[in-house]
Amino acid sequence: MATFDSLFPGMLLDSASRFAQDHVSTEVTGDPVRELGWTATIVPEEAGGVGASLADLASIVEGVASYGLHLPVVEACGVVPVLLQAAAPDVAKRWLEAVAEGSAQIAPLTALSASLDEATVQAKHLDIGFELDGEVLGADASLPASHYLVPAQLEGDLALFLVDAERIGAPAASYRTMEGARGADLKLAKLSVPEGACIARGAAARDSLVAADNVALLLNGADTVAALSALIQHTLAFLKERKQFGVQLSTFQVLRHRCAEMYLKYMGAKGLVIHCFHEHEAGAADLRRTLRLAKVSLAEAARFCAEAAIQSHGGMGMSEEVLATRLAQRLLGSEFRYGDRLAHVARLLAPQATAAEGRNVSNLTGSAR
């Protein structure tokens, strides 16, 4: 029997699913990500967090994605805590505590479409403090932010700044993203920030941005698999329910084969994402390469299934009122987060990338958790 087992089952998945189900057809108001305490998930216990694993955070991502709900869980609960740990221990602890208890609403000021280490902001060291200059196109703006974490180019290397949102000001433009979330363009025009705003630079900043990007790619993968699972289940239910030419659509061989193909893609994607979590847990030397490979492969699977689901729903598939259509949009939107397939292929095929990103044999055994 074909199964749609969850990647990371458990209470966190159940509660996130319930929340998403309750809000699937209503606009989310307030700041549920912080109100529900999800930002504390991977924050270490000594900093007031839950100290849970990345797999636990993936449970929440999975629950939210299953109902097509758009919340920046990856950014607020995954990327931010990892980036903050690049700071000096006392600074990191203070801000992680604020994140865990929800007193600070920190968001990454990065283009959702790009890898986190592709900083578009330039930083210049002044006599007192720094000056930030640049533009970030298409940042997530779904939730209110009290502070932004801003990666920037500083003297030929990377640096990480923590800046009051008030200093940065209102977006230059705001948008609806293709899957219905909120996006914004933010401009930093010769913005002066104090010395202490730079919380990491050089290797510390670089490593933390790569680590956060890895987390983002992993969670993005979990999101994709969860959306695929829900998408296929909704498509199957639709084909079983609807009739055309006097018979159930699910009896048409061409539609059956397409669904079977979707299921194969989903299962392949699921296996790949589990493998990526194993590699992350094991600290594999070729993790970066594996994650890039996964992003390219998941993009293919997601695109195929999204298009197949729209086609299988016929005219209904063109309407946003249908949950399967919104899930298809989400899958397409996820493709373009943290680097699209063309960007990752470029890195994978670049001669120097192969050597730099390693090519070790992966661990193929064990469960995801």
Binding site: R176, F245, G246, G317, L332
Partner: protein, 386 residues
């Protein structure tokens, strides 16, 4: 007298260059959605020149052009970034009126299509009756010299801006569901018609549900015989499946996407690898060349009243899927920026996002007008003889 096709092409090129307003050409060149405003303006301009209906016979107000002239017209207009002529009136219901309409109906309805006064939408699909068109339930009962319509249509493109609808209705219940169907043309401002928008995945508003509650329409709006609407519908569908597959437009899109890929590749430098997209573009170029010949042959058959067979289905699939591949390439080229900046709150266009909208919209090319699955069944039935 033989036609000087080269001179004809030059005449068209000059007309397109001088007569089509730059603001309309800019919309087409950018791949943006062509709205009623542009369609209507361009229709009036072409009609004033006597070119309002390139595919209609002269006696109906058309140009009477031969097949080659019509293809040249399509190519030149596409090459010059002029919009297509709006298909629902000219390409769909117009030929049906010419073929099945009375003298009075031709005189009443055709000139208003030609000068752009009447803007039609198509009332075919119903909830539960998409590709299985014959299962439609919307009814029309005859009362004196009127029909009274009740029911619902769905996926009705442009119903919110059309002033006329041509629609299939059930006028009697027959054992064979294709029987008892009639074709009516109905003014959209008739009492009892309600239009409800459907929010579609491309972010544009073009789809609607249309509800009919005791809608009364004069009986002389019946096209063809009562109960024989299926014949008209089939005649119309054959023609519907060809114009959207317009090869000249496909070539226009191919050139637009090629330019887009070049620009995106130049901007990205070594950060993104475009070799796969360029490979796919080459295959599309080949597809368009092949489709051009198929389209010319089918149009020739249509003009000479030869049976079209499975050609409309074949061309619809080839062109529809090619259009999907082209907009998919465009999606890949612009996706990272445009996916996060899909629709601007401020209301202004997000140039790159237009290509995501086009990608989304083009999903309908294998759904509307008979799904790709239905078209493949048509071809398979022909191949297997059942």
């Amino acid at each position: 007298m033989s036609i000087d096709y080269a001179a004809f092409r030059r005449e068209l090129e000059e007309f397109a260059r001088k007569a089509c307003p730059p603001e309309i050409r800019a919309v087409v060149a950018a791949g943006q959605k062509v709205t009623k405003r542009e369609y209507q303006a361009w229709q009036k301009i072409c009609n004033a020149k006597g070119w309002g209906a390139p595919s209609w016979p002269k006696e109906a107000g058309g140009t009477g052009w031969d097949i080659k002239q019509r293809l040249i017209f399509e190519e030149v207009m596409a090459e010059s970034d002029c919009p297509p002529l709006y298909h629902h009136g000219l390409g769909h219901i117009g030929p049906v009126i010419i073929r099945f309409g009375t003298t009075e109906q031709k005189a009443r309805l055709l000139p208003r299509i030609l000068d752009g006064s009447d803007w039609y939408c198509q009332g075919y699909s119903e909830p539960g009756s998409g590709s299985d068109l014959a299962s439609l339930q919307t009814s029309a009962r005859r009362e004196g010299d009127e029909y009274v319509i009740n029911g619902q249509k769905i996926w009705t493109s442009h119903a919110h801006e059309a002033n006329m609808i041509y629609m299939l209705v059930r006028t009697s219940k027959e054992p064979k569901k294709q029987d008892g169907i009639s074709l009516l043309v109905v003014p959209m401002d008739t009492q009892g018609i309600t239009v409800r928008p459907i929010k579609s995945i491309d972010g544009w508003h073009h789809l609607n549900e249309v509800f009919f509650d005791e809608v009364r329409v004069r009986a002389d709006n019946l096209l063809g015989e009562e109960g024989k609407g299926w014949t008209c519908a089939k005649y119309l569908l054959e023609r519907e499946r060809l114009p959207p597959a317009n090869v000249a437009r496909l070539e226009l899109v191919r050139r637009q996407v090629t330019r887009l890929v070049d620009e995106a590749a130049a901007a990205a430098g070594a950060r993104r690898d475009f070799s796969t997209l360029r490979h796919k573009l080459l295959l599309c170029e080949a597809d368009v060349k092949g489709a051009r010949v198929l389209m010319a042959n089918a149009t020739d058959d249509m003009i000479h009243q030869r049976p079209l067979g499975v050609q409309p289905s074949v061309i619809k699939m080839i062109c529809g899927e090619c259009a999907q591949r082209l907009t998919t390439i465009a999606l890949d080229a612009v996706g990272p920026q445009a996916a996060q900046r899909f629709l601007a709150d401020a209301g202004e266009d997000v140039a790159e996002a237009t290509w995501i909208q086009n990608y989304m919209f083009t999903r309908s090319r294998t759904i509307a007008g008979g799904t790709a699955e239905v078209q493949r069944n048509v071809v398979a039935n022909e191949l297997f003889g059942a």
